[in-house]
Amino acid sequence: MSEQKQVKVHVEDVNKSYGSNHVLRDISLDVHPNEVVVMIGPSGSGKSTFLRMLNQLEMPDSGTILVDGYDILDKKTDINKVRENIGMVFQNFNLFNNYTVIQNVMLAPVQLGKMGKEEAEKRARELLETVGLADKADMSVGSLSGGQKQRVAIARALAMDPDIMLFDEPTSALDPEMVGDVLDVMKDLARSGMTMIIVTHEMGFAKQVADRVVFFESGKIQESGEPEQIFNAPKNARLQEFLSKVMQA
């Protein structure tokens, strides 16, 4: 784990309910620079909701969330500025259907004045190269496979040069043979030192890449620790039960 004292994401006592459904209860979590945190747990345990709060796609009912030192729940904080530094990758890719592959990657840097069109295009081609899709640059997004779409989505998020990347079940909507390509890109990213928070059901990947694994269940963090500990010596009874189910499958 990193030696740095500085905290990238600081979450304290966050609660969230949808009506009578209490989806997050008193969640606290710190994420340090260059750390890769993987969140696991059964469906509906609140891990995706939690992840979406970190860039304010969802609002908590109470609690504190600091990202890069910014209190993102403070109305005075310019959430757009904070979001520029947080890349997000969705389960369903959400590529912009009205643009080509490279236009998807270039849109935000150009619109936000981060770079000129030419520079953005050059950078976009580099990013597509790193995700292995340089040859698809000028295709429409509709003609890509799921795995290719997700890699474009990662390139699009990276185009803003973020220092945190959020992944919301990035491989759940993919055919099994596509999963590997996407995970490889994510592994490269982790190796490069990116701070990453990942919600996933890929236990092998978690074991391999995570600095820390966090187990969500019933809106609570039941247990967290290094992958070794979580997967080989789980203490929490629910985690044990969860692991026995997913490992069987």
Partner: protein, 481 residues
């Protein structure tokens, strides 16, 4: 969005000024706006040159000449003609209008200029002999006329049902075709029409009911100067015989004197050539209304649609309410409200064309707003989330991601709405705009060739709609590419 709003208001302001400029005269002679019934021969009707003639029109023209005033004539339905005066949209009305106590409550009348009375008429070969035979049958009457009032006053006694019409020609046709069995109307009007070939017979030519008199009218308490001029001028033309000449000119002559020879008004080609200018003018007006309606209603509709998906609850609610109200209102009610109702409340005139365009904007804009909102909502939620999570603002995300996708979804709805707008312009004939439909009404009132004239009008509409559809499909193809 602000820029569009600004453009819109500037445009509307310009429109108002232009239309007012058209009616204002440069010199100091007073210019009045006078309304009249578009189809009320022998008092008010168009001749073969599409000029308004008739006993009313000739009297008015003669008096204006002698008294030194000018006027802008606005032909419309009788009902709209009288209401335009009470709502200050016009200064006076001359439309074979009977002087009654009820009307005296809201109008000041001139010296009576014509003695008339109510007659009732049936189809030429009808078996109806007396008013008692009308029990259980339907009687056709013209909205707002004293014939209608009389019919209603005896309706209970004779036990008939009534059906209303806004123009005489359609009304007569209804009786001749047997949908209704009789009509009540002013004696000279019925007689003139029968003399010119309408297949009706008057049942009480000798003893009309409620013998009454026609008067020129202004709003009660207003336009005293105009009324005085009319009375003074009328006394003069009565004295020197001009008045009798005018009356005889119309009552003795057959209709063809005014409406052209028989061939001109019975063959389709004849109708087309002898009314070429009228058809073209009407078509031009229809196209002008359509183009302006489509353009401005689309802008307004897109604004409403964007408001409808706003993050702000209040803005969203406003859009929903506006769409609800104007989609719910029948277009004709809206047109009457803007043209006849609103000026009373705001205190200045709204020219018919402007009122028509505003009606189109509000009505068609509401429909457009509804499908624009729907189109934006049909864009996956994830598209917005992805755009926002990159740091794009709501506005940029809308403009660059959501709107281009939404508009693609909406293109077929837009084309549909354009065609509906074109057809809906015909409803504006109700407030007297001389577009294609109103043109048809006027020509039919002159030549009684309902089938042929309406067939011509229908074909013109179909041709224009076909052209509009082609244009739209071409645009659609281009947006798809």
């Amino acid at each position: 969005m602000k820029r569009i709003l600004l453009l819109l208001t500037t445009f509307m302001a310009g429109l108002v000024m232009v239309s007012q400029g058209l009616t204002a005269s440069a010199d100091t002679t007073p210019n009045y706006v006078i309304t009249t019934d578009a189809t009320y021969p022998p008092f008010d009707f168009q001749d073969k040159n599409n000029q308004y003639v008739g006993i009313d029109q000739d009297i008015l023209k003669e008096i204006a000449k002698r008294e030194g005033f000018t006027y802008t004539l606005k032909p419309m339905s009788f009902n709209a003609a009288t209401q335009s005066v009470t709502s200050d949209q016009a200064d006076g009305v001359i439309a074979g209008m009977s002087i009654t106590d009820e009307r005296r409550q809201v109008f000041d009348f001139s010296t009576p200029y014509y003695k008339s009375g109510i007659a009732w008429a049936v189809s030429k070969d009808s078996k109806v002999k007396s008013l008692d035979d009308l029990r259980g049958k339907t009687v056709a009457i013209k909205t707002g006329t004293s014939g209608a009032n009389y019919a209603l006053s005896v309706q209970k006694k004779y036990g008939f049902k009534v059906t209303y019409f806004n123009d005489s020609e359609t009304l007569y046709r209804d009786v001749i075709n047997g949908n209704s069995v009789a009509t009540f109307g002013d004696l000279p009007v019925l007689q003139y029409s029968i003399k010119n070939g309408t297949q009706l017979k008057v049942m009480n030519p000798k003893d009309p009911f409620e013998a009454g008199e026609y008067g020129f009218a202004v709003k009660k308490g207003g336009n005293a100067k105009l009324l005085a001029s009319f009375d003074k001028g009328f006394a003069e033309i009565k004295k020197d015989g001009t008045y009798d000449k005018i009356v005889n000119k119309y009552l003795d002559a057959s209709a063809s004197t005014f409406t052209g020879n028989k061939a001109n008004s019975t063959t389709v080609w004849g109708i087309l050539t002898s009314n070429k200018k009228a058809f073209l003018d009407g078509l031009f007006e229809t196209i002008l209304l359509t183009v302006m309606g489509i353009f401005l209603a689309s802008i307004w509709g897109i604004i409403l649609g964007i408001m409808g998906i706003s993050q702000n609850k209040f803005v969203r609610g406003t859009a929903t309410t506006i769409i609800y109200i104007f989609r719910g209102l029948p277009m004709m009610v809206l047109a009457f409200f803007i043209y006849i109702g609103l000026p009373t409340a705001i205190g200045f005139k709204i020219p018919a064309f402007v009122a028509g365009v505003i009606t189109l904007i509000l009505n068609e804009g509401a429909y457009t707003g509804a499908f624009v909102r729907g189109g934006f909502e049909a864009v996956e939620r994830g598209q917005m989330e992805a755009a926002r999570s990159l740091g794009l603002s709501y506005g940029v995300a809308m403009r660059k991601v959501i709107m281009p996708q939404g508009i693609k979804i909406m293109v077929p709805s837009f084309i549909n709405q354009f065609i509906i707008t074109l057809k809906d312009t015909s409803i504006l004939s109700a407030i007297g705009i001389l577009e294609l439909t109103q043109t048809g009404t006027l020509i039919v009132s002159r030549n009684s060739q309902g089938f042929k004239v309406w067939a011509i009008i229908a074909v013109i509409y179909l041709v224009v709609i076909t052209l509009l559809t082609w244009l739209s499909n071409w645009v659609e193809k281009r947006t798809k590419a």
